[in-house]
């Protein structure tokens, strides 16, 4: 039931509200629109014309250049290798942090022990910290492990600093499963792993979706860790994109920059469009008690 059914608002006022919402939508969409139309225009049209105008000489060329041939740093590789880097970081880090989070969440929700709330609070605190506080020791430890500037090092860092969120997601979900189901299984002689497999896992589809989508979005969009612990060949997409758009040598090829930025945004944007429900659940479960 919406509030509308209780308070009466006349049609004219509602129409004004609707126009206002439409205007707000335009504000949110304009940066995306500007990038999109200008990613298909030749540079002369961008510099000489209106940023809002549709392209006169439409071309996919700038997308191709951003992907495969433009200079990133000193290498004329396009963004492609850094897309692959990000993928190579995202897949194992998401898998590892989600699986560990599922087990940890199960324990914290269902196997009480002395101080379990404190442990949960300590883990939870860890997922919100400003990562600047761990940058120096992380660099040192990655160096000691021989993982400086490697994909492996970034996988490790993202897995560890993702554990707080994944544990939170699973713990809150498993907390809500009726106790009777677990007790019945225990009476039938099921043990820890079996209860997890037979009772928890079949109910875990949505929370796996939340965890995977949240972690994928966060790690794909990461800049700070990538910039700190990657190097010229292992940097992930957002670091490469920033190098592309902020390089100060030569003419600024805005069309290629726009194409590159949209390309980098595309994976998480598509996830959002097709699984927004789970993304929102991830956003709110850290905030509103799940």
């Amino acid at each position: 039931m919406t509030i509308r059914e209780t308070i009466r608002i006349n049609g004219l006022v509602m129409a004004i509200f609707f126009l206002f919402m439409l205007a707000a939508a335009a504000v949110y969409l304009i940066p995306l629109y500007v990038m999109l139309v200008n990613s298909f225009k030749p540079l002369s049209e961008i510099q000489g014309g209106n940023m809002m105008a549709l392209p006169k000489a439409f071309s996919f060329n700038y997308w191709y250049q951003a992907w495969a041939t433009t200079n990133i740093g000193v290498q004329a590789t396009g963004l492609r290798p850094y897309f692959i880097n990000a993928g190579m970081i995202v897949i194992p880090a998401v898998a590892a942090s989600t699986i560990m989070g599922a087990y940890s969440g199960f324990v914290l929700a269902r196997w009480p022990f002395r101080g379990d709330k404190l442990v949960f609070a300590l883990i939870l605190f860890g997922c919100f910290i400003p990562f600047q506080i761990v940058l120096i020791p992380s660099a040192k430890v990655l160096g000691l492990l021989g993982l400086s500037g490697t994909i492996g090092g970034l996988i490790l860092i993202h897995t560890i600093y993702g554990l707080g969120f994944t544990t939170l997601f699973f713990r809150n979900t498993y907390k809500a499963i009726p106790t009777e189901m677990i007790e019945a299984a225990q009476i039938d002689g099921a043990h820890f792993m079996k209860i997890f497999r037979l009772i928890m896992l079949p109910l875990s589809g949505p929370v796996f979706a939340v965890s995977i989508i949240w972690q994928t979005t966060n790690i794909w969009n990461d800049f700070l860790f990538g910039a700190s612990f990657g190097n010229a060949t292992t940097q992930p997409i957002m670091v490469a994109l920033n190098n592309l758009v902020s390089s100060s040598t030569g003419v600024k090829e805005y069309n290629i920059h726009f194409a590159g930025a949209l390309m980098a945004a595309l994976p998480t944007l598509l996830i959002y469009i097709f699984s927004g429900k789970y993304f929102i659940r991830g956003l709110t479960s850290g905030a509103v008690k799940g």
Binding site: M21, A24, F113, D222, A261
Partner: protein
């Protein structure tokens, strides 16, 4: 009690603890151990490499004498107030509008929220172009015939931090809207109905009845915005890179440049500890409240 509890520990409980152990150890080392390590570095003579030579609070004293740090702090004040205040106001307002119509919510909610799914590097880049007087907004408005229109904040030392705030508010306000929308749905209808029956005008129903019921949502919104404000980093890098000059530096960009760019690791660590303290002041009371409530 203790020995009794130990006697009754089952094999399953043991398995459970073993399964939780890796997460606990990783958290203790990589979160709490590292925090302590950084605090130690902030009290040491570390320059390019970590050093164990103790110098007490020298780095903090030197940091607060740096004009860069004072600029970063002042910017954080301006940015923090605008970011928290305006994002909460816009988020609440949009939530109230969307709450009035299911159809409007279905259409507009995904549009208002999508920036949260995109990297700050991408949105920062988009806003950089859009705010660039040479090709962006200023030029468009001029082309409409307003030849005297000026909007060059991004190139202006005094106003660059406001452009960071604009882009950041644009990106986060949809998220805050979601928080308020959930809060609005939980307001008891009897309260609203009785206000309506009493003949209160709509705006009064909101200011006197609905908004005071949103205390939890406000608390969540302020905690989210507060901790995101202190962590803001990528957006500044992509939008202004701390410039022009160092005019739009925040504590986060200061930390990075002093630690990794200028080889002043002790001072960099001090700024990280400062950020951590601000963060803890925002989040610890909230976490305590959350965990206790269960």
């Amino acid at each position: 009690m203790r020995s009794k509890a130990r006697k009754h520990i089952t094999k399953d409980e043991l398995t459970a603890r073993a399964v939780l152990l890796p997460t606990v150890i990783l958290t203790l080392v990589f979160v709490y151990g590292f925090i302590i390590f950084t605090i130690y570095i902030s009290l040491s003579a570390s320059k390019m490499m970590p050093s164990l030579t103790w110098v007490g609070i020298d780095n903090y004293i030197r940091m607060f004498k740096l004009s860069h740090w004072m600029t970063a702090l002042k910017n954080f004040g301006i940015f923090g107030v605008l970011y928290i205040g305006l994002s909460a106001a816009i988020g609440l307002f949009l939530a109230i509008l969307l709450d009035l119509s299911k159809k409007a919510e279905a259409i507009f909610r995904p549009i208002y929220l999508y920036p949260m799914a995109i990297s700050f590097i991408v949105t920062g880049t988009a806003w950089k172009w859009f705010l660039d007087p040479g090709i962006g907004l200023e030029r468009i408005v001029r082309s409409w015939g307003f030849a005297a229109f000026r909007f060059d904040w991004i190139k202006n030392s005094e106003f660059a931090i406001y452009t960071v705030a604009i882009a950041a508010i644009w990106q986060v306000s949809g998220y805050i809207m979601i928080i308020f929308l959930a809060g609005l749905r939980a307001v008891p209808h009897e309260l609203i109905e009785s206000a309506v029956v009493d003949g209160a005008p709509i705006w009064k129903v909101y200011t006197k009845v609905v908004i005071p019921q949103l205390r939890t949502a406000f608390l969540s919104a302020f905690v989210i915005l507060g901790h995101m404000a202190i962590k803001s980093y990528d957006l500044v890098i992509a939008l202004t890179n701390g410039g022009p000059g160092r005019a739009s530096e925040l504590p986060s960009t200061f930390m990075y440049s002093y630690t990794f760019g200028r080889n002043q690791m002790g001072i960099g660590a001090s700024s990280a500890v400062f950020m951590m303290v601000i963060f803890a002041m925002i989040i610890i009371p909230y976490l305590r409240h959350q965990v206790k409530e269960e």
